[in-house]
């Protein structure tokens, strides 16, 4: 920002150009994927590049007819939405308590929660599979996927909500208390309306993370509760095979997120930077 004042004509043209070249490079792989999804499997592996092919929707028809795309998509929507709602229901009171009634250990608890994100999932995968499959019998159910997705994202959700809530002046909450508003009222009528942007960003981000989660959803489901990640995983083939089809599946799996992200740019950026970018 500060350099703008003394920037020459040269740099005023150069920086945006460089920036847009970078943006193009970054966007190219996504473009390629969408592009390939309109090619037949045979066309997809031909070395001739861009425009020497006939665009076709065959892959998409194939996907919806033979691979039950809508069931996977429905599962993704159901599990991601409910996991997000559950995470917010649990996370809002927790973040509220931490932000407005911090104890000596609040910071430690936050750090500890975040540190669980860094543990290698591989170390607990076997016990988890065993527990859910053989002991609880909830393997491959929506319930399990929702709980797991919620638990995975809960640390991030609480942390984000905590940073947003912390920005709200304590006095406002206290004023509410003076007026005899109870805790639930404080959360519902004061906190959430005030931190609405933050809550929305958190929800959006949580939803995206749930949608993308592959490690656990692929391994804790087979058919019943399988999400789009599982569909992609199942369609993976040895190199060079079915690229058109696989692109279509991938495009259809990330499409909703790309669209959602475009319309919620502000929330997405705000969410990802924990509100620091205004």
């Amino acid at each position: 920002m500060a350099i703008v004042a003394r920037s020459s004509k040269f740099s005023r043209i150069m920086w945006p150009t460089v920036a847009w070249i970078v943006a193009l490079i970054f966007f190219f792989p996504i473009f390629w994927m969408v592009f390939t999804s309109f090619k037949t499997d045979a066309d997809a592996v031909k070395p001739e590049f861009l425009f020497s092919f006939k665009p076709t929707l065959e892959n998409y028809f194939n996907m919806t007819e033979n691979y039950d795309y809508w069931r996977f998509a429905a599962n993704s929507v159901i599990t991601s939405s409910f996991a997000t709602i559950l995470a917010l229901v649990v996370g809002v009171p927790a973040a509220y308590a931490m932000a407005f009634n911090p104890s000596r250990h609040t910071k430690d608890i936050l750090v500890w929660m975040l540190s669980t994100k860094m543990l290698p999932a591989a170390a607990v995968l076997y016990p988890m599979t065993f527990l859910t499959k053989n002991m609880l019998g909830i393997y491959d159910t929506h319930f399990l996927v929702i709980v797991v997705l919620c638990l995975i994202n809960l640390p991030i959700v609480i942390w984000m909500l905590f940073t947003y809530f912390k920005e709200i002046p304590k006095e406002i909450i206290e004023a509410g208390k003076m007026d005899g508003v109870d805790t639930w009222g404080e959360i519902k009528d004061i906190l959430i309306p005030l931190a609405w942007g933050g809550v929305a960003s958190t929800a959006l981000l949580c939803f995206i993370f749930c949608w993308n989660e592959a490690y656990w959803t692929v391994r804790l489901t087979t058919t019943e509760a399988a999400t789009l990640s599982k569909l992609i995983e199942g369609n993976r083939a040895p190199e060079g095979l079915f690229f058109g089809r696989l692109s279509a599946v991938s495009t259809a799996a990330v499409g909703p997120i790309i669209v959602l992200g475009w319309f919620c740019q502000k929330q997405l950026v705000q969410g990802l930077t924990f509100g620091a970018v205004k």
Partner: protein, 331 residues
């Protein structure tokens, strides 16, 4: 007033406690339980779990393993007996560190980790500084750079598998354009395959790092820039000696996020190379998974995951202590 506050105080603590239950549950059952299990079985020579642990009876029509007695008390004699019988001490670890595949996994993770750390920070910061120069359509630019981060690792891996394929990816496109000697096939070259995976990882994560850095840059007072300019300090010096030290908290958040991403490289490897060519791009998480679910060699898998846990602890504990243990004393 004090009267009115009392119950809400109580309820507030209650809500905090209720909110903490799922976390505590996960921590106990999944992390502590799973970790203990993992560590214990890493000292056994088990190929598969013993049959007896799989025997069930109905307790309130919920299937319960037979070593949980009817009154709910735990009878550990079966699992304990099993561990005793198949106890092999450190033999699994011995074998682990003697296995080439594991050594390659460790080396790969190390290279990937270091490079991803350096390049994410470097590229992320440069891009953020670039974007800080007041560029039109800044939001669109930022969203485009963030898109990769909104894609799952599996999709990222697949896309880059295609891009880096020598027959129809970047290599063939550039050869088509006339440079016929051009070679760019990192995924098919055992020497550099891990860098092919690094490309995908950087593509996915850098936009996010950039956003964090940009947030940090925007948080720096305009006056500092002005002061530096008045003093005639060149721009790059201002960045290195003034701005970056001021952004320490942002850098720490970024480091944590990058570290969490490094642990997750598994999905990327599986989607891009499945560990190939040969075993050149194996990573520890994949080793663990393959030993447990494919090779049915549980003891070995558990030993490997114990090593992973241990290394995470070695990194995490000093960091948490330095970052948060010291501050507590001050305030």
């Amino acid at each position: 007033m004090a009267h009115a506050q009392r119950p809400s105080q109580l309820f507030r603590n209650l809500s905090a406690k209720i909110a903490a239950i799922p976390m505590i549950f996960t921590a106990l059952v999944v992390f502590v339980g799973g970790t203990l299990w993992t560590i214990t079985y890493s000292f056994t020579g088990s190929k598969l779990l013993p049959k007896k642990i799989f025997e069930w009876f109905d307790l309130f029509s919920i299937p319960v393993p037979s070593w949980i007695a009817k009154d709910g008390a735990l009878d550990f004699s079966i699992p304990v007996g099993f561990v005793e019988k198949s106890f092999v001490g450190l033999k699994q670890y011995d074998r682990l560190w003697g296995e080439n595949r594991w050594l390659i996994s460790i080396e790969n993770l190390f290279i990937y980790g270091i490079c991803s750390l350096i390049f994410s920070l470097l590229i992320g910061f440069i891009l953020a500084a670039l974007l800080d120069q007041k560029i039109r359509f800044e939001n669109t630019f930022r969203t485009i750079l963030l898109y990769p981060f909104a894609l799952s690792f599996i999709v990222t891996g697949l896309v880059w598998q295609w891009l880096l394929n020598p027959e129809f990816g970047v290599q063939s496109v550039i050869r088509d354009l006339g440079w016929s000697g051009f070679t760019f096939d990192p995924l098919y070259n055992a020497e550099i395959v891990i860098f092919g995976i690094l490309f995908a990882g950087l593509w996915q994560g850098t936009g996010f790092i950039m956003c964090l850095m940009l947030a940090g840059l925007r948080g720096i007072d305009e006056d500092i820039w002005k002061a530096a300019r008045v003093d005639g300090i060149p721009m790059w010096k201002t960045y290195i000696f003034i701005v970056i030290p001021m952004m320490r908290p942002v850098f720490i958040t970024t480091l944590v996020i990058i570290a969490a991403g490094i642990v997750k490289v598994y999905d990327l490897v599986v989607a891009q190379t499945s560990g190939g060519p040969g075993i050149a791009s194996e990573v520890p998480a994949k080793y663990v998974y393959d030993k447990m679910f494919q090779a049915q060699n549980l003891g070995q898998g558990f030993a490997a995951s114990t090593m992973m846990l241990l290394s995470v602890m070695i990194v995490l504990i000093p960091w948490a202590y330095l970052e948060f243990g010291g501050k507590k004393k001050n305030g």
